[in-house]
């Protein structure tokens, strides 16, 4: 199936700082999915964070420094792929804004940004993956993370792949495209408002009565999982990559073991 090594696209995984810290399983799931799809995958070791927290806090100078480091580390690859719409959106859509008007960096950023993709859209839109091999017996609901949805147009791609998993039934929740209330620092700075928004979200999740909640961004997942755990819900929460890779034997996010009762 794989072409000769030289013909494989050289893909760098942008792990994202949240996956690195909280959920390495998502990183390994991403590696599996990309290698299965025929990529020559590498993980540049000097990566840290895309700089989004600084960017959204109004700290342009630090954002620039961090962005430059990311670009230098990753621009040599054919593609840069992140298991996050938010981080991929930062690299693809916001870096050009960070360097707008910067004569030295503008063109370089543009070339870099063209090669950046979120994981599921890279698999479907670029590699033309039609289905995955996984078998997971579960009713699943999918939350559209905002940046992926509105900055990168990711909506159909993860659903297409999830639907190809043997045993999965996709049960759409109401307002799956409405924010979960995470918003990075927002969830701590305006925690009461964030709580109100995530409470509406978990009501919608519960109403769909799935075994499992999936999304493509760990920030949103930590938020929704944190709320579901606090509410003693039985719904298990996972990153979409884990399920697509068939890696569902480990503990769900924020739990010792699944209590969802999926077969």
């Amino acid at each position: 199936m794989p072409k000769s090594i030289s013909q494989k696209p050289r893909v760098a995984l942008f792990v994202t700082c949240l996956v690195d810290l909280f959920r390495p399983s998502v990183g390994f799931a991403s590696v599996k999915l990309l290698e299965d799809a025929g990529c020559d995958l590498e993980v540049p070791m000097s990566q840290t964070c895309c700089g989004q927290p600084a960017w959204n806090s109004g700290d342009r100078e630090d954002t620039k420094d961090l962005a430059k480091a990311v670009i230098k580390n990753f621009e040599g690859y054919d593609y840069i792929v992140a298991p996050s719409g938010s981080c991929a959106g930062m690299l693809k859509k916001h870096y050009p804004e960070v360097f707008a008007g910067d004569a030295i960096w503008e063109e370089r950023v543009e070339k870099f940004a063209e090669k950046v993709y979120e994981l599921t859209s890279f698999l479907v839109d670029v590699l033309k993956v039609e289905k995955v091999d996984a078998i997971v017996k579960a009713d699943i609901t999918y939350h559209d993370s905002c940046a992926g949805l509105r900055e990168l147009g990711i909506q159909e791609q993860p659903r297409k792949l999830v639907n190809s998993i043997k045993g999965v039934k996709l049960k759409e929740m109401k307002d799956s495209d409405v924010c979960c209330g995470f918003g990075g620092m927002f969830s701590v700075k305006y925690s009461d408002i964030s709580n109100s928004i995530v409470t509406t979200k978990t009501e919608n999740i519960e109403a769909a009565s799935p075994h499992m909640l999936l999304a493509g961004d760990l920030g949103c997942l930590l938020n929704m999982a944190g709320k579901l755990r606090r509410q003693e819900s039985s719904i298990e929460v996972r990153h979409v990559a884990e399920v697509l890779a068939g890696m569902v034997d480990n503990a769900p996010i924020g739990e010792r073991a699944s209590k969802s009762g999926r077969p």
């Binding site: 792990v15 700082c17 996956v19 690195d20 810290l21 909280f22 390495p24 990183g27 390994f28 993980v43 070791m45 990566q47 840290t48 964070c49 700089g51 927290p53 600084a54 960017w55 959204n56 806090s57 109004g58 700290d59 342009r60 630090d62 420094d65 961090l66 905002c146 940046a147 509105r150 409405v178 924010c179 209330g181 918003g183 990075g184 620092m185 927002f186 969830s187 701590v188 700075k189 305006y190 925690s191 009461d192 408002i193 964030s194 709580n195 109100s196 928004i197 995530v198 930590l222 938020n223 999982a225 944190g226 709320k227 755990r229 606090r230 929460v237 996010i253 924020g254 739990e255 010792r256």
Partner: protein
């Protein structure tokens, strides 16, 4: 002056979320407007093209705003009207007061106008012995309640029917107290009858404007109730109060934008009344005002031109951004603490009252981007909120702890080896805190988070360290 409570945004938001009546009322907002807009937009094949066309028109106007304003003024005067230029809110209040005094006005009826809120016209009229009467049903209700609008097109959206009934019973004391007031329709009929008298007896009528057409010196209001038309038709004097960016070059340009306005706002294809007014009563006219005045308000807008906030001057005040905003849904409009709520307010208010006062507003956003996606004028609202955050960061207006933690974190993130070490230690530490159940119930440095939800515990070691081991083991296997 409308009291500015934006600095107390967090406390405002908390009390709003604890307010049962408000939360009940907001329940209607969360879907109604959204579903209707979606249907209206889908019902017109050219909708997206019209959005682009509308954007192009406003961008063109902003490039030649001075010249279009001159042209507009010339045409208003030609049609027998008067133009008053107001640099500040106080100037506008003074000019309107002058006109009312000269006319010996006792009662002023008012069509719905956010500019009138911005300049706090009612307080100024009342302080000078002139009774302002709001005639839009929603505005009338909140005037009785001594409140301000919580939404730019649905001013009383935060009020429940039960509250309206209580207000009417309290204020309409000339009516029998046991009259039936259990249906919205009965409440509306009562307000209609009371306001009908006011329309017929007012000396001056004040309306806003959705557009000012330069070609013909025409002011345009877009309404549903008909109150704006009665306000401007029946009294002897009609005063239009409008901000300078309302200019469009021609009637055709107006038609372009009208096509996206109601669809984005209420989800109607067209509002019931789009009324174009040009000058005062003419020879042979049997009705209409004897005098027609336009007060053109700047109040900080000209200073937005040429800055990163210029795009905000494209705003047509449809309210789609707040209708789709999860933060607005949670807290309603009053929590924002000044005239303009929601995403458009989060960008505009700092421009008009200062980012030192309105600093919370551009920060209280998840950047979900839903506002921008429905804005008929494609205003990049999140991007402009971020620009405000940059201004705050530059001016050291953001809280010192927050600033310090961002800078400190960035310092570390620029040093990969140090970052690796700290990340590994954090992963280990948080893993320990997660205990048997793999979740953290309380975390002092993130108490905002753990007050409401658990913090899922990490898996124990970072991806990068696991990957390194994994690679090493692969090499070992070879």
């Amino acid at each position: 002056m409308v009291e500015i409570t934006s600095p107390a945004f967090k406390a405002n938001a908390r009390s709003a979320m604890a307010d049962e009546q408000l939360q009940k009322a907001m329940g209607h907002v969360r879907h109604n407007f959204i579903d209707k807009r979606a249907t209206a937009a889908a019902g017109l094949d050219e909708f997206e093209d019209l959005r682009d066309s509308a954007v192009a028109i406003k961008n063109h106007v902003l490039e030649y705003l001075d010249l279009y304003l001159e042209k507009y003024e010339e045409k208003v005067i030609e049609s027998g009207g008067h133009v008053h230029w107001a640099a500040t809110a106080a100037d506008a209040r003074g000019q309107i007061l002058d006109i009312c005094r000269k006319a010996g006005a006792k009662t002023v009826t008012k069509g719905k106008s956010m500019i009138s809120e911005e300049i706090a016209l009612n307080d100024s009229l009342a302080a000078n012995g002139i009774e302002p009467v709001e005639t839009d049903l929603g505005e009338y209700i909140i005037q009785l309640r001594g409140e301000h609008p919580s939404h730019i097109i649905a001013p009383a959206v935060h009020v429940t029917m039960d509250q309206v009934r209580e207000d009417f019973l309290k204020h309409h004391t000339h009516l029998p107290p046991d009259r039936p007031l259990d249906e919205p329709e009965q409440l509306l009929r009562e307000a209609r009858a009371i306001l009908r008298e006011k329309f017929l007896s007012a000396d001056v009528g004040v309306t806003g404007a959705n557009f000012l057409v330069a070609e013909s010196g025409t002011s345009v209001i877009v309404t549903n109730e008909g109150n704006g038309d009665l306000t401007q038709t029946l009294p002897r004097i009609h005063i239009v109060i409008a901000s300078i960016e309302k200019i469009v070059p021609t009637l055709e340009d107006m038609s372009q934008i009208v096509r996206v306005l109601a669809r984005s706002a209420t989800g109607q294809d067209m509002s019931v009344y789009t009324t174009l007014s040009t000058g005062p009563r003419r020879e042979g006219d049997p009705d209409g005002p004897d005098e027609y005045h336009v007060v053109l308000l700047d109040n900080g807008r000209s200073s937005m031109i040429g800055t990163e906030f210029q795009d905000m001057l494209r705003c047509i005040r449809c309210g789609a951004c707040m209708n789709h905003c999860p933060v607005y849904h949670a807290i309603g409009g009053h929590a924002y603490g000044w005239v303009y709520p929601g995403p458009m307010g989060a960008v505009l208010s700092p421009s008009l009252i200062g980012v030192d006062k309105a600093g919370h507003l551009p920060n209280a956003s998840t950047f979900c981007g839903r506002c921008e996606s429905v804005c008929p004028m494609h205003i990049p609202l999140p991007k402009m909120m971020r620009h405000w955050r940059e201004r705050e960061f530059e001016k050291h207006l953001s809280p010192a702890t927050q600033r310090g933690s961002i800078r400190g974190w960035a310092w570390v993130a620029k040093r990969p080896l140090l970052y690796r070490t700290i990340a590994s230690l954090s992963a280990r530490f948080l893993w320990l805190l997660g205990g048997f159940n793999r979740r953290i119930k309380s975390l002092p440095l993130a108490s905002g988070w753990t007050r409401h939800r658990d913090m899922p515990a990490p898996e124990g070691s970072t991806f990068m360290s696991q990957w390194r081991e994994h690679q090493a083991s692969l090499k070992g296997d070879l």
